[in-house]
Amino acid sequence: MNITELSVRELSEKLQKKEVSSVEATKAYFEKIEKTDGEIGAYVRLTQDVALKQAEQADKAIAEGKATALTGIPYGMKDNICTKGSVTSCASKMLENFNPPYDAFVTKKMNGENAVMLGKMNMDEFAMGSTTENSAFKVTKNPVRTDRVPGGSSGGSAAAVAAKEAAFTLGSDTGGSIRQPAAFCGVVGLKPTYGTVSRNGLVAFASSLDQIGPLTRTVEDAAVVLNAIAGHDPLDSTSVDRTYDDFTVGLKDGVKGMRAALPKEYFGEGIHPDVKAAVLKAAEEFQKMGVAIDEVSIPAMEYALPAYYVISSSEASSNLARFDGVRYGYRADSYEEMDDLYKNTRSEGFGKEVKRRIMLGSFALSSGYYDAYYKKALQVRTLIIRDFNKIFENHDFIISPVAPTTAYKIGEKTADPIEMYLGDIYTVPVNIAGLPAISMPCGFDGDGMPVGLQLIGKVFSEKTLLRAGWAFEQNGR
């Protein structure tokens, strides 16, 4: 039995049948990491000591019959999610030595399940980027082809799952940061409805868009992990006060009789023909499975990308202002006056892309420009929500590509930020509207790189998406 080849569901069964112990599974993963992560670079930090203790605890819980779905399962945590006692750096020099005195909501959930944290995953600094090349520490390579980026910003999280260096990982998605790397690495990524998973302890990039979600090898695993992390948290005012059904119940009920929408804006200019072909083929497969498909339109889509960059950068400029060198994190060695302390600390501590977004956001919010940028972007947000709502009046889900292309070559896009931003065009509308979406593989391009399929649903329709995703996944097997 090769432990690292197992899905979460499979490993969980074996753990509970005591065919394998969590300590064995954990060691197996560290061996795998030892072997391949030198090349892949998915982890920014390993937490071996903690992991082995958690594994022992998990084995004890299993022995006592107190196991849950994630008990003893080795996983990786994106480095922008706070883990008490383990450095949480957001892949930034700014927080290189920041050891949070508290756990994020999802970290507590994971600990409560006795899941085993192997380490923290590499990412674009403060989750700003689409290739993980903006990490202050290392470049992560795409396990499918190591001359390619894994996508971003949860590039480490996606690469680890693809390289079998973790049974699953958690990522965060502000404009596609779970779905796009999942697509680039050929794994499953789920961005839940805004407010489903608490943001408490997630170092904020853009508060109104950020959402934590799972990266897994199978759709079923995504449902299993979502079960563990979804839920109301009174410490996050944007966490929705509702209860969630078991996401695995009804997973295998099929899609017959469902109705899906193909928005024409998702197949227009800029899409790679191989991506278009693979996604349209996926749509055909759905049709064969009994899904009625209509072409629809999202007229406001053309404004989505600029609106996203205005909203996310504006919020980021404020969220990241606290990194000033006064209380924690990096502080410049040399400064004379207070203003120098701020300037030098922030100039030295932040990378180029982060500084670019802070400047963009500060500009968009500044007096005299607010109405033209920020306010306008909020109006676009309303329009996009309206367009989506209209589609969901008659459709169960939307079928679309995740990104216009497959994974870029490392270094290919770093020189041109605008071109890089354009790659987010299909994922950002989902965040703007606060919708759930799942990203899963649907074929390959001419170079053998995975193509991602995105299924988008109305708010809190994760179960529908997972059901559709599971049906599609079975079909492809």
Partner: protein, 478 residues
């Protein structure tokens, strides 16, 4: 300087008031004043990465009560915004405040000014969090104390309706009284629970346009407000008379010199880049909740004042003095039930009781019914006013039945004409000089004789009766 009479000042006040909630506005830390530095803070109020604010509902309710008590329109939909600026006492580098949709707007309150009652408009009341405190230390340099970070405040912004230092102080006092009535803050000025920024400009009388204003920050006593305004007004007028211009700027009032000094010019001011805080949901208030809050507000000073003037015959000025403090007003009302002449009671309250009473640290040491007895004895002529004063002082030290006290100490007023006449004759005999002066038309000379008669009665003589009898006796000598 004569020119000063040609000008008038235009003042608006921004009052910050710390709300008396047990915990902070966005976390569960206590708000107690005076704790050891950095012992009342948590990752949330220290702005650690990943932390999120959760609004303390009581803060909203308190602010709404302040708004209701000052005749504001209460927003049923309101939101919180981030005010972005860098300063070491501001951990998140933004303050959560309210920008374009404050909780309360369009209110007013009434003050007693030189020309009677005047309405001062209240532009808005919004909620916000306090910043921390910088502590300067010779050994370590500047240090940050985060205890105050996240302490809930309301900011009450007035319209530029105030035209003098006296009006400004009256407004501030009235606002303080109303807030104390609602019980949402202790308004302790020395602890900074209530402080005030003064916006002031001057203009030639009769001109409609406002002049350029300056802002004086963080004045925390009635005296400082008065003095800062007087100084700044004079400074601006002198500047204009010299042909100069007023620069829009923030000025610091220096208590020692009584002068104001420039702190920062407008062009150095921050662009706060306000935007709605995405971590916080809008504040939505139901009609039921608003009604519940409205019902919880006690009868306020203005309404009580009206009763005192209309039903008890007090002057608006006296009514204002008593109603400024809910404790004195409650006391007055309790005592007034037991007397036929509340006006006399009010005089006693203002002239005697309120001088002995320390509003911040004590209670009124005399039972209201005992003070009512004093008032009744005064009214019936059983005692005179100088005795009343003595009785109040004595009861303050040791409270007991006032009538008993007067009887036991034999303080009753002497109304016996025979007895008083004998004292008068004696005094006239002993003061030939004063009598001569009186005969020559110096009416005041009677005062000296009167004093002697009074001292003979040990202060218990009926002063009006003595005056009448003495005048008659002296006139008979003419």
């Amino acid at each position: 300087m004569n020119m000063i009479k040609d000008y008038e000042m235009v003042i608006g006040l921004e009052v910050h008031c710390e709300l008396g909630t047990k915990t902070k506005i966005f976390c569960g830390c206590p708000t107690t004043f005076g704790a050891e530095p950095n012992t009342q803070c948590c990752p949330v109020c220290m702005g650690m990465p990943g932390t999120l604010p959760v609004l303390n509902k009581q803060v909203v309710e308190y602010a709404i009560k302040a708004g209701m008590a000052t005749n504001c329109t209460i927003a049923k939909f309101s939101k919180q915004d981030r005010k972005n600026y860098f300063y070491p006492d501001l951990p998140k580098a933004y303050q959560i405040s309210q920008y374009d949709l404050p909780l309360c707007e369009h209110g007013w309150l009434e003050i007693e000014g030189e020309n009677g009652t005047k309405k001062i408009g209240i532009t808005r009341i919004h909620i916000e969090e306090d910043a921390g405190k910088l502590v300067h230390n010779d050994e370590y340099g500047t240090m940050v104390d985060c205890n105050r970070c996240g302490v809930p405040l309301i900011e009450i912004v007035s319209e530029p309706d105030i035209r003098s230092a006296e009006e400004a102080v009256a407004y501030f006092k009235k606002l303080r009284a109303i807030i104390l009535y609602t019980g949402i803050s202790d308004c302790k000025m020395q602890e900074g629970s209530m402080r005030c920024d003064v916006n002031l400009s001057v203009r030639k009388k009769g001109t409609g346009k406002f002049g350029t204003r300056t802002e004086m920050k963080n004045l925390n006593s009635f005296t400082f407000i008065q003095k800062a305004i007087e100084y700044e007004y004079k400074r601006q007028v002198e500047e204009l008379e010299k042909g100069g211009t007023i620069i829009q700027e923030t000025r610091r009032y220096d208590q020692a010199s009584g002068k104001t000094y420039s702190m920062r010019k407008k062009e150095d001011a921050n662009d706060y880049r306000y935007f709605p805080d995405p971590d916080l949901a809008p504040i939505v208030m139901s009609d039921e909740k608003l009604k519940e809050l409205r019902d919880s507000i006690p009868t306020l000073p203005d309404e009580r004042k009206k009763t005192y003037v209309d039903s008890y015959g007090l002057t608006p000025y006296d009514a204002e003095l008593i109603t400024n403090d809910m404790a004195t007003a409650d006391y007055f009302e309790a005592a007034a039930e037991k007397t036929a002449n509340p006006k006399i009671l009010a005089n006693l309250m203002i002239a005697e009781v309120m001088k002995l009473y320390d509003a911040e640290n004590g209670a009124i040491a005399i039972a209201p019914e005992h003070l009512a007895q004093v008032a009744e004895m005064l009214r019936s002529g059983e005692i005179n006013s100088s005795v009343a004063k003595k009785v109040v002082k004595a009861l303050w030290e040791h409270d007991e039945d006032a009538c008993e006290y007067v009887r036991a100490n034999d303080l009753g007023q002497i109304n016996d004409e025979e007895l008083l006449m004998s004292y008068i004759r004696e005094a006239i005999e002993k003061n030939p000089k004063s009598v001569e002066d009186y005969k020559k038309g110096k009416v005041a000379a009677a005062k000296a004789i009167m004093g002697q008669v009074m001292s003979k009665t040990k202060g218990r003589g009926n002063p009006i009766l003595i005056d009448t009898l003495l005048t008659k006796a002296l006139d008979a000598l003419k």
